[in-house]
Amino acid sequence: MNTNPVHFTLNGKPVKISIEPWTTLLDYLRYHKKLVGTKKGCDHGQCGACTVLVDGNSVNSCLCLLVSLDGKDITTIEGIGTADNLSVEQQIFIEEDAYQCGFCTPGQICSTIAMRNRGEINSEEELKDWMSGNLCRCAAYKNLTKAARRIYKES
């Protein structure tokens, strides 16, 4: 099987591997690294469940080939905080009840962080637009918006 070398940082740790070029970042995380916090909701870039941070920007990991990420800094939900040491964003999600089933949550959290990193939101409508790449079938949108607003302003 053909493999290609690639190196990057994953949740703060440098990684150097050689991998089949068709492997998506999502499949690498879930199948190779057992980092299953990142979810597969569609595998087609249509739902946002697989959102992770690449150099601080939100990326649909299902649409991203791992070999294209040479030199990048990748952060998944596992790298954001743990139950004993929750990040501010995670804490806000709990306080605002910004979920129901929790399946879209890791992706939603990554999107709010990327939104804040960019810092280009000027209105409520822009904030909702930004968050609309992450579908939530439980439709916890009101609380998601509250949480996203707080994360944008407070942290």
Binding site: K39, C47, E78, Q100, F103, K142
Partner: protein
């Protein structure tokens, strides 16, 4: 502090926000991966299936088709599940017959998901196609009441009353097919143990259903299979019946004696149940003063050719308003598709959509405000069943909603953009408040931590949290002393999580077992403290993990040190109280909406959405409100977005993905509000609580439809209502 009624954050929150909540596809084990090949025709048979190239592909372990289904799965095997409708359930690979487009016809098992998927494309299938009619419209002449259950009894003389009414309407309303599409695709992970036993992680709303299916199909004994489901990434009804991935993963695991996982693709999420397309015919009449005098509701719904899926649709029209002359009819017609499946507020959401649109049309004919019209025809007993309600605070919902929405001044509200038409609409909603039998087990450890187990589920509804709150209050301990465990067939039986009855059923059982354990503590305390022999149970209380008697306190942990091991755990089964069937239990709500419609472009938006509900005792307002908002947004999606489009020539779903099957997204939601009115109910169940997971969707699509009329003067009478509908009419 009291937990019940408290806005408690979810106890499973830390797991959910850190990615540590393990859904079915997240189970870590060395799995083989299974991928399903689906039929590309809707009707006919497979004449040849060539798997040679696929079998030879790297990593492929096995391929299953109708040609190699183990013999033992063919004879006298029971493929039903607890919620199977009348008919013959779908049997994967049973023979070469094709019942619907998208039917699984081969299963490839390989070392990796990629290998399995790729190999499936190498299978060559030849079909013999038969003619069929793929849509409800084309099959209407086969509609029959014989296949459907009988609706509530007709009453009075509809025909005469209709003829004598001052105002009458006859209208038809259509709803398209909707697909559940929880964010988590359906998945099953089977761990095959060295002793031949299996542990099955399934996406299901009740592990008992999967177990029943596995026992029936694979003949597995209760001790050779255990089904688990710790976290469910949404279901909304899709997990009410075991779906075919359960069969697939289990078949492969048993045959290959290996761990197997099957996760559906998003497209495959459109290859099983759905909310059926239905057509309603409504005939309503009222007198000059707005008294509803005659009502007839007839619905025709689609089902599959192999099962008679039915819902309670038309009965709602006999229930919501006072009317003495009522005619209800319900028919089913088979189409070449998989069997429909209960989806959030099944039946109610459909029946009430048609009723609430028709009521609005009739009120308009009579020149009466739609809210006043509904008040005028208010009913305080169940005319279908001739029973009183356990409670019904709908009047209070109307009043509060009117106030919060500012209904009476709605016309004078700010005019916005000259390009926009502004409209207001409302509807009534209702959902059953049922209680089912449920069992629980409780044990206490030396640290004073209580573990409570029940085979129920948490599909995002907050079961873990709400049950912990009930237990903490009943036992008089803090929330962190309660560990509520669910989703395991090793735990005591629970009803499936559906019908909004989990709080009332499992919650009542939890409350009861905790009370039982208080007596246990009390008995042990008296036994070891002879001086308190004469103390009555009523004289003590339980607080802060202590038994209190007068000014004295005794820690549970100290008391129970004296208890025997057996005394530290108890079991309990709770069933609806005798005589509960003398009353009808329903939750109610009023919903009001504001819409804008772009004059040139037809774009419909919903800037404001207000719901006021009466649902008995609310255990956790935080999770309850979230659920209600979620179901309201489902109503918006149903009204304006969701449409499973079937190409009737091929019987194939044309938009089987999230880019083309639209659900509501964050940007669709603007000012949305829900609140509860006080509703005291000592009859519905011991907790006085009614479920809220389905209530908010009922009536909502009608309210939007009515508001669009108010804005544009057009009645669209179909779902979803799209911009081209507005421009076309």
């Amino acid at each position: 502090m009291l937990n019940i009624g408290n806005k408690q954050t979810r106890v499973d929150g830390p797991q959910k926000v850190t990615g540590k909540a393990t859904y079915t596809a997240d189970i870590a084990a060395p799995f083989y991966h299974a991928y399903v090949l689906q039929s590309t025709i809707a009707c006919g048979s497979i004449t040849a299936i060539d798997t040679t190239a696929a079998e030879a592909f790297e990593g492929v372990k096995a391929i299953f088709t109708h040609l190699n289904l183990p013999e033992r799965l063919k004879n006298k095997v029971d493929y039903t599940d607890p919620l199977a409708p009348p008919g013959k359930p779908f049997r994967p690979f049973y023979n070469n017959t094709i019942l619907y487009n998208g039917q699984p016809i081969a299963l490839v098992v390989a070392e990796s998901f990629e290998q399995a998927r790729y190999a499936s494309k190498l299978i060559k299938v030849t079909y013999e196609e038969k003619k069929f009619k793929g849509s409800l419209a084309e099959n209407l002449k086969n509609a029959s009441a014989d296949r459907a259950p009988e609706p509530a009894k007709n009453r009075g003389d509809f025909t005469k009353a209709f003829k004598n009414s001052d105002y009458t309407i006859i209208r038809e309303y259509r709803q398209s097919r909707n697909y559940h599409n929880p964010m988590e695709p359906h998945a099953t992970s089977v761990e095959y143990n060295s002793d031949g036993n299996i542990v099955v992680y399934d996406k299901i709303q009740g592990v008992a259903s999967s177990l029943k299916y596995l026992k029936g199909v694979f003949g597995l004994g209760a001790d050779s299979v255990r089904v688990k489901s710790d976290f469910v990434g949404g279901a909304f009804g899709s997990g009410l019946r075991p779906q075919y991935q359960l069969f697939m993963a289990t078949l492969a695991a048993l045959e290959l004696k290996h761990n197997v996982q099957m996760v559906m693709t998003r497209a495959q999420m459109f290859s099983f149940g759905y909310r059926p397309e239905v057509i309603h015919t409504m005939k309503l009449g009222c007198s000059k003063d707005g008294t509803l005098t005659a009502l007839s509701h007839k619905t025709v719904g689609e089902t599959s050719t192999f099962e008679d899926f039915n819902e309670t649709i038309v009965d709602w029209s006999g229930l919501l308003y006072k009317c003495d002359n009522v005619n209800l009819e319900y028919e089913l017609t088979p189409v070449q598709s998989y069997t429909p499946l209960d989806m959030r507020a099944p039946g109610g959401v459909s029946g009430v959509y048609a009723l609430e649109c028709a009521i609005d049309e009739l009120a308009h004919e009579a020149g009466i405000d739609p809210l006043e019209f509904r008040r005028k025809n208010y009913v305080d007993y169940d005319q279908n069943e001739n029973k009183p309600f356990t409670s019904k605070e709908l009047k209070a919902c109307y009043a509060r909603c009117e106030e919060v929405f500012n209904w009476n001044n709605r016309k004078s509200l700010a005019k916005t953009d000259p390009h926009l038409l502004l409209g207001y609409g409302m509807a009534t909603g209702s959902w059953e408040a049922l209680q089912q039998p449920a069992s629980v087990a409780l044990s206490m450890n030396e640290m004073g931590t209580f573990t409570i187990k029940c085979a129920t589920a948490d599909i995002g509804t907050g079961t873990y949290t709400v049950m912990s709150q009930i237990a903490a209050d009943k036992l008089g301990v803090s929330l962190d002393k309660i560990k509520f465990k669910l989703g395991d067939t090793a735990f005591p039986d629970s009803p499936i999580e559906g019908g909004s009855w989990t709080v009332s059923s499992v919650g009542s059982a939890v409350a009861a077992i905790c009370e039982k354990f208080q007596y246990r503590i009390f008995d042990v305390w008296k036994r070891n403290n002879p001086e308190y022999q004469a103390v009555a149970f009523e004289a003590i209380s339980f607080q802060d993990a202590k038994l209190k008697y007068g000014s004295k306190t005794f820690a549970f942990t100290e008391i129970m040190q004296q208890a025997s091991k057996d005394e530290l755990s108890i079991a309990h089964s709770e069933a609806p109280a005798d005589g509960q069937d003398t009353h009808s239990g329903y939750a109610h709500c009023c919903v009001m909406v504001e819409v804008t419609v772009d004059k040139e472009l037809g774009i419909i938006k919903v800037p404001r959405l207000v719901n006021v509900s009466a649902a008995g005792k609310i255990i956790n307002p935080k999770t309850a409100e979230n659920q209600l908002l979620g179901s309201m947004i489902w109503g918006l999606g149903m009204a304006l977005r969701e449409e499973g489009m079937v190409d009737s020539r091929y019987g194939r779903v044309m938009n089987a993905n999230f880019a083309e099957y639209h659900i509501a997204v964050n940007a669709d939601i603007h000012d949305i509000h829900t609140e509860f009115v006080e509703e005291h109910d000592d009859k519905v169940n011991p907790l006085g609580a009614k479920g809220v997971g389905e209530l908010g969707i009922v009536g909502l699509a009608a309210a939007i439809s009515n508001a669009i009329f108010d804005a544009t003067g057009k009645r669209l009478r179909k779902l979803p209502m799209l911009l081209d509908d507005v421009l076309e009419v």
